[in-house]
């Protein structure tokens, strides 16, 4: 039924070994023979059996990309950039690799399970994007799993995620702390003294780092933070909306709201508007990431731009071994403060 290597060999009047060598191009084959084989491949419409090939060669051409939320452009942009470097179809890369993105939905268990599945497939490389979960048991499990993958020859790259010591993983880490600090300092510089903060889910590195940056800025300027000023939520618009209403309820005198990311900031803007407050006249708003839609908010969002595409591309290249890993295996990627219309001097 299905065409096999042997069929091609028969048709080309050569041995299966020769066909394999032509297809893999890692062994000298006479030009005339090669051509004959290629013609047979074409005529029979032969498609290599991936599993058989992977089994025999003990390697596969699968590269996994793990993301927390595929519906979020934050991850979509990174994943797209990574995948384009993985090569896959049309990529710049040589070997045709299958770059596949796996959606963990932010669940630690799914993250682990996907890793196992990729381990099963003997993936050539794995890129993990975005923040990690900080719960100790999960971190330990992840470390063990990553180490095992690395031992099996899978190259591991972390993109926008803190380093995982002793796992053999390369890391391109976003400077979330620095970005958060810069953002809040900008607001403080404008004169704000009462700033609400809508954080992401707890136990996430991204959440913690951005919040730490925010607090560092506050304390550096002698502003004592009121515990009521921080609310945790998910990384989505809805959460931003609700959290903002909560902040307003807790302390109506806030003059600025800093959001965990741009989607949350959008929700915050909506909540403020629905509460009859003007942006930035009554309350300034700031986001994080600078996703494409952020500039279309009205007023445009003040935020921290993260070079998602660049970082993703670099991570992809490192995963493919086409770029030197950073010295020490770790590199920090900085964000850039984008001051736009949503932040202004506080009223009064």
């Amino acid at each position: 039924m299905t065409v096999t290597l042997a069929d091609v060999a028969a048709r080309a009047q050569v041995s299966p070994a020769t066909v394999s060598r032509v297809l893999n191009g890692n062994y000298p084959v006479a030009a005339s023979t090669r051509e004959r084989v290629l013609r047979a491949v074409d005529e029979l419409d032969y498609v290599l059996n991936g599993p058989a090939s992977s089994l025999a060669a003990a390697t596969s051409d699968l590269v996994g990309i793990l993301v927390n939320d595929i519906a979020d452009p934050f991850f979509g942009i990174m994943a797209g950039a990574i995948q384009s470097e993985i090569g896959g179809p049309g990529g710049r890369a040589g070997g045709e690799r299958l770059g596949v993105v796996c959606n963990t939905g932010g669940s630690p268990e799914r993250e682990l399970t996907y890793l196992t599945l990729l381990q099963r497939q003997r993936a050539a490389a794995v890129v993990l994007t975005g923040g990690a979960t900080e719960a100790a048991p999960h971190q330990a499990a992840m470390s063990a799993k990553l180490r095992k993958l690395a031992d099996a020859g899978t190259r591991i790259v972390l993109c926008g995620r803190p380093p995982a010591p002793e796992t053999g993983a390369f890391a391109l880490t976003f400077d979330n702390r620095g970005g958060g600090r810069e953002l809040t300092e900008h607001l403080i510089g404008l004169g704000h003294r009462r700033l609400g903060y809508i954080a992401g889910p707890e136990e996430r590195t991204t959440t913690r780092h951005r919040l730490e940056g925010h607090r560092a800025a506050l304390s550096a300027h002698g502003i004592e933070e009121d515990p009521r000023w921080t609310v945790h939520g998910r990384y989505d618009r809805r959460s931003g909306y609700e959290a903002t209403l909560e902040l307003l309820r807790r302390d109506p005198s806030l003059t600025a709201v800093v959001a965990a990311n741009d989607s949350v900031a959008l929700g915050a803007c909506a909540a403020l508007r629905d509460s009859g407050l003007r942006i930035p006249d009554d309350v300034s708003v700031a986001g994080f990431d600078d996703l494409p839609f952020s500039i279309d908010a009205v007023p445009a969002l003040t935020t921290v731009r993260l070079p998602l595409a660049e970082a993703g591309a670099r991570a992809g290249r490192i995963a493919m071994g086409r770029e030197e890993p950073p010295p020490g295996g770790i590199a920090t990627v900085r964000g850039e403060l984008m001051v736009r219309g949503s932040s202004g001097v506080p009223r009064g």
Copy 2:
């Protein structure tokens, strides 16, 4: 070095066959034996060799999801919904399948290459999302490829894409034409008579169908379309911005701009604002898809809501054989007109 089935068998004092059966759970194994095997698996930290398993069983647990642009939430939302039904980790599904999304970037060649790669891997199913390219050669190539995949036992589902006759593919098609028509009729009903249209890339089914719906509405109301009123572009914000400026240049008397999708509409809004025009007082704007950010535009975007998540979930279930395919293999998914602030009665 690596642990194999045989190692587990030895440790559990059973034959490899038994271990395999315990792991696959498709053959009676005594409870005590099963437990012993499972313990051995655990102690040795055994991970199944995917390729070997796929080769022997002549099937794999890979399910491919093809998207045109992974950075676009339109696809991200569908992909996420599909993947969650594919099961994979944490999904409701039983068998652990690896749902992987492949980013074609809208390139026909990449689409084909990904399909070949998935064919190589003997994918269990493939879901293709979003509009298709209409160039005849490519369509023929796609048909042939899909048919071949289907023949090899891969289940094919099209989600948000027109049916592919005689390929054995199931289709969940979006009623882009109907949605486009309804949207434009809404604007006409408000009194608009001069409507600009920003279409997507040419040779795309989605582009053509939405545009046809728009034109059907116009002619149904006796409005003769001026060729200057249509501009083609990409499905992104930037394109919407530029196209809007172009439309304004061609005919400043337009009172409404209909965009190919919400991102384009956002760009259109920005262009209008930058041109000193108010929305909807001077010009009404309408989008398509109703992505999450659309409600946050100011004013909120009038658009056609497509049930992306629902359609994706259903496509995923069909791909997994957990839901009956629609009768005739084809189902049409309708959109819902969402009237919001960006559309109003024309000035004067």
